[in-house]
Amino acid sequence: MHDNARSPAASARKPETFRDAASETPFVRHLLIFAALAYLAFFLLLPLVSIFVEAFRRGAGAYFDALIEPDALAAIRLTLLVAAIAVPLNLVFGVAAAWAIAKFEFKGKAFLITLIDLPFSISPVISGLVYVLLFGSQSVLGPLLKSHGIEILFAVPGIVLATVFVTFPFVARELIPLMQDQGTGDEEAALSLGASGWQTFWRVTLPNIKWGLLYGVLLCNARAMGEFGAVSVVSGHIRGLTNTMPLHVEILYNEYNFVAAFAVATLLALLALVTLVLKAVLERRFGAEIAASRKH
């Protein structure tokens, strides 16, 4: 009976409705896409837009006034300075640590990896407190350094230290799996061809890891500029002196100066956007090369 029931039209339509075992029905597909987009819009896009809306609530004039005000400029300068110190430091440290972990066998390797992850696993506030304990007036080091005229806490060095601590996993974490995956074959080849260790690093190792390194640096920079908790504990919140941008935003907000607070916040949001765009552009332009450097 069912043979007769299948009309020619129905069997002709059959290929159109056929789908892979692994793909969902259109309804489920759309539902999933909608859910993902709605989630992103609510938790990411909406807050982002609201920052800009708040910042421009009283017009572009008020927005730019908030940015060129001396305390704001000082905060921007300090943030840039801290990032300019912390990022290169962690770049060098990250490459060195990843190199050691990926290319050598030594005792305590697992411990070193755990140590590198430490800043990720503890609250940034604790990271800041560590430096307060280490260099505070109750500690051994603090008064000693102070007697030599070196201020750590509530000064720029403390902020740099806390930022370095919080951001040091980014570069190393990005490079370790990459370098482990690549192994030591290329380096051995370079050495066997007569290259010195230095030449091998610059001409073979570095080109092999450059994209991973760039990712790590971008992430590290974004965090260095945006870090709040650890810096907040060690900075002392001295306006125009030890306030970074995130701290400045907080102070303005607590003073109900919403336009100025959101204006400075837009700069941080823009930084995040620039980082993302840069990453996307790099991926698009050098996608093939990045993929090639990841596989052997």
């Binding site: 074959g185 290329d186 051995e188 080849a189 370079a190 050495l191 066997s192 061809l193 007569g194 290259a195 010195s196 030449q199 001409r203 073979v204 080109p207 092999n208 090369e289 090639a292 450097s293 052997h296």
Partner: protein, 344 residues
């Protein structure tokens, strides 16, 4: 360049990878290090290159002790198993690398380097691919780029680690022939590591058979195949059958039955013979077994038989004439015509 390896010992974390290995590699020779994985063959190759340092012993290049020389100073051409081509450099830059990293005083001029790279590329039949990147090449092409790169530094010795391991069968055969020609043309002392005995026997002037960190035998293909000096070599090279035997009164006994072989030795031993080195017989003392399976292999028939008492039978394979009766379950009586015995 002659290479002499003298009483080399290598330990990794107290686990010995090589015990007291000595080997003399003649100048201009093509020699294969053959063995199963874990036999220490790659470790030996890396020790010659200077990529590893021996726990004890010395390595001489010619008459000079190279044991304390770094890999850079040894000037060896090393072709890695997975080629280790620099993926961010073109083929031409890969080949030129060894020249461009030389100190200024000994570095050829740019034009000269380019010319040399082109020449090497021509030698490995890859002219026209200068601008390609390694991931745009086939496996066989990468292999040849790696070889050209190693040759660029005019090495004293050429070392190849499983040179054909990552290639498919057809390319492997072609490259094998090509490497032999290449060697004959350039005359470099060449050492290569392989676990493929066919490759080693076909390609090398001499084969070094290794097992468990020791050299078992060094010799030509004929030597290691026809006169293996140990049970390991006999069973590793080619196919073979082996049976535990007892020797007394000038005869060889298998499970207390004489099998028609005479010997001067006494005591327990392992008897080895090749499947084709047997003769069927109907009279006198001989080995006998039940056929459990048989298959046609080109011009011969291979019979799988169970030799010995039920419950303690040994499964072996022998070659039987095509007209011999080798039906399932039938009884076959045979004697090895060429055989070796190794005391056990």
């Amino acid at each position: 360049m002659e290479v002499t390896i003298s009483n080399i010992r290598k330990e990794f974390d107290l686990y010995p990878a090589l015990h007291d290995v000595s080997l003399n590699i003649r100048s201009g020779e093509l020699i294969a290090l053959l063995g199963p994985s874990g036999s220490g063959k790659t470790t030996l190759l890396r020790l010659i290159a200077g990529l590893e340092h021996p726990t004890a012993g010395q390595i001489f290049f010619g008459n000079e002790d190279a044991s304390n020389r770094t890999v850079q100073e040894r000037n060896v051409g090393f072709v890695f198993q997975h080629y280790a081509l620099f993926r961010h450099m073109t083929v031409a830059d890969n080949i030129a690398f060894g020249l461009t990293v030389r100190p200024r005083a000994t570095r050829p001029a740019k034009a000269e380097i380019r010319r040399r790279a082109a020449e090497l590329l021509d030698m490995v039949h890859l002219s026209g691919l200068e601008k390609r990147y390694p991931n745009q090449l086939s496996g066989g092409q990468r292999q040849r780029v790696a070889l050209a790169r190693a040759m660029a530094i005019e090495p004293k010795v050429l070392l190849l680690d499983e040179p054909f391991g990552a290639l498919d069968a057809q390319v492997r055969k072609e490259l094998r022939r090509w490497l032999r020609e290449f060697h004959d043309r350039t005359g470099h002392t060449t050492v290569f590591v392989t676990h493929d005995q066919e490759e080693a026997l076909e390609l090398a002037d001499r084969v070094v058979v290794m097992s468990q960190g020791k050299i078992e035998q060094v010799g030509s293909a004929d030597d290691v195949y026809d006169t293996p000096n140990s049970a390991f070599v006999f069973s590793f090279i080619g196919s073979s059958a082996s049976l535990p035997v007892e020797r007394r009164d000038g005869m060889v006994f298998f499970q207390d039955q004489p099998i028609g072989l005479a010997t001067d030795a006494t005591g327990p031993a392992q008897l080895f013979f090749r499947p084709q080195d047997v003769a069927l017989t109907s009279e006198g003392a001989a080995l006998s077994g039940k056929v459990t399976a048989s298959r046609r292999l080109a011009g011969a028939r291979i019979a799988e038989i169970d030799v010995g008492n039920d419950g303690n039978a040994h499964h072996i394979e022998i070659e039987v004439p095509l007209d011999a009766v080798a039906t399932l379950g039938s009884e076959i009586r045979f004697r090895p015509t060429r055989w070796e015995q190794f005391a056990s």
